[in-house]
Symmetry: C2
Subunit: 251 residues, 2 copies
DNA sequence: TGTAAAACCTATCAAACGATAGATATAGAC
DNA sequence: GTCTATATCTATCGTTTGATAGGTTTTACA
């Protein structure tokens, strides 16, 4: 694993280019799946190449053959997650972008925001597999390691940006509005924390599993938050809010 | 570090019990501070006993003398964080409990909730030190290790419980209401994610630091969320909400 | 002074870990 | 059969890591 560029199928000018083992891609995929789970369950440093090799049924240097070094393997996992993320959120995100381009109303933006959060939640629920992804992503974003830039640029940032733009539309403010951005940050952080912080979520909620029903409950709560965006200011209970504000701001 | 019970000052029946070095407590504290920062910056497994010993200016077995083994040191750090947490939130939490005992109004509960969240935020802002705590806590709760039970039982659970009770009061529901609990979970997760996920927070918000002003912005947003609790249902825009709901629920 | 306790040290150990050298197996073309 | 490319292996290496054995230093007290 001294070479970070994983060896790929090099097309040789020689006619024997199709020779050799034919199971490489299959083995590579098997290793990648095992690694995704392992790196989802524990940190980069905690997961050993030996444990992945053994679980994959291959020898240690086979990992290096396919992925270069440990970091290369880790980054390949991140790239796989990004790919899956894209295939699940592209539709909702594209529709949201289209609506923004057409200068849609605040309520339309709100609906698109709910659809986008729904799509994101849909990506995160349903199997141990997706749980590993969420944990992988949360851990890497929290404690930046070899795959941070991949996940930040290709997953986190696009998601937060489109969310922030929708919220800005709801708030009738500009695209760069920090308040909208902060709301987007908190909203997506909540969702990610919910799924990736599985231990405390299950224990706090006294749930035995996180399935579609539990996810629906969470989405319902998040949708209520989305519904509340931009509306607390026009509340008739404005005085009470202002009083509450004063009390909480002895800074 | 083969003994998990750290050696303490044993009171001997012998008159010579007060003999020996007198700097133990000072050394212990220095090691603990160094360890708190190190374990805040990186995971249990990533931080080495050698790095802590070196930074503390002591030899490796000195760690074992004071704390038993590596896990003992880690748990001592968690206990220190819990102690600090308690000293910062006890007042706000006690007032909230008192108010709940007196069957206070929803708006009073809301004000107490804001005060509690404010106290919690106040614990997390201001120095590299508190940043380490937040990261230590978030990491350990996310990936349970040697100190999980300490932090869960003594920090996380009490915080979420009192928050959930306040929210239940706002919602005029019972103490065990899952909806209130979920809101509490999401609220505290947001705050913790905000502070512990420093890298993505700074980058997402284009901030160069997280100081009192930035924290105030976050609190303002969280207070808006608190204000919105229990109020979206009585909105005159109820129809629009229901329509939005339908669109986001093709499950 | 001697004794004992507290606190600290150097040197060493066994195990774990990522990576590498060199070899081998598989499979197709000629 | 040979040659070549692809894929995989065993054995080994150098380094790191938590822990331990045995020893030393500091300090108070009789």
């Amino acid at each position: 694993m001294s070479e970070t560029v994983p060896p790929g199928p090099k097309t040789s000018a020689r006619a024997a280019a199709n020779a050799g083992y034919r199971k490489g891609e299959e083995t590579r995929k098997r290793i990648l799946d095992i690694a995704l789970r392992a790196f989802g369950d524990a940190s980069f440093r905690s997961v050993t190449t030996r444990q992945i090799a053994e679980a994959s049924g291959v020898s240690l240097p086979a990992l290096q053959y396919h992925f270069g070094d440990k970091e290369g393997l880790y980054r390949a996992c991140a790239a796989a997650i990004v790919e899956r993320y894209r295939s699940h959120t592209t539709a909702a995100a594209a529709k949201a972008r289209e609506a923004l381009r057409e200068d849609c109303s605040a309520e339309t933006a709100r609906a698109h925001l709910k659809a986008l959060i729904g799509a994101l939640a849909g990506l995160l629920v349903g199997s141990k597999e997706t749980e590993s992804w969420a944990q992988f992503v949360a851990r890497e974003l929290r404690d930046p390691g070899p795959a941070f830039e991949i996940l930040y640029e290709s997953l986190w940032r696009p998601g937060v940006e489109i969310t922030a733009r929708l919220i800005a539309r709801i708030l009738a403010s500009t695209d760069g509005d920090p308040a909208a951005r902060l709301q987007a940050l908190l909203l997506i952080s909540s969702l990610l924390a919910f799924q990736s912080g599985r231990n405390i979520t299950l224990r706090t909620m006294h749930w035995s599993t996180i399935g579609p029903q539990e996810m629906a409950t969470v989405l319902s709560t998040l949708n209520a938050q989305i519904d509340a965006i931009g509306r607390s200011r026009s509340r008739p209970a404005k005085r009470a809010t202002a009083a509450g504000r004063k009390k909480a701001s002895p800074r």
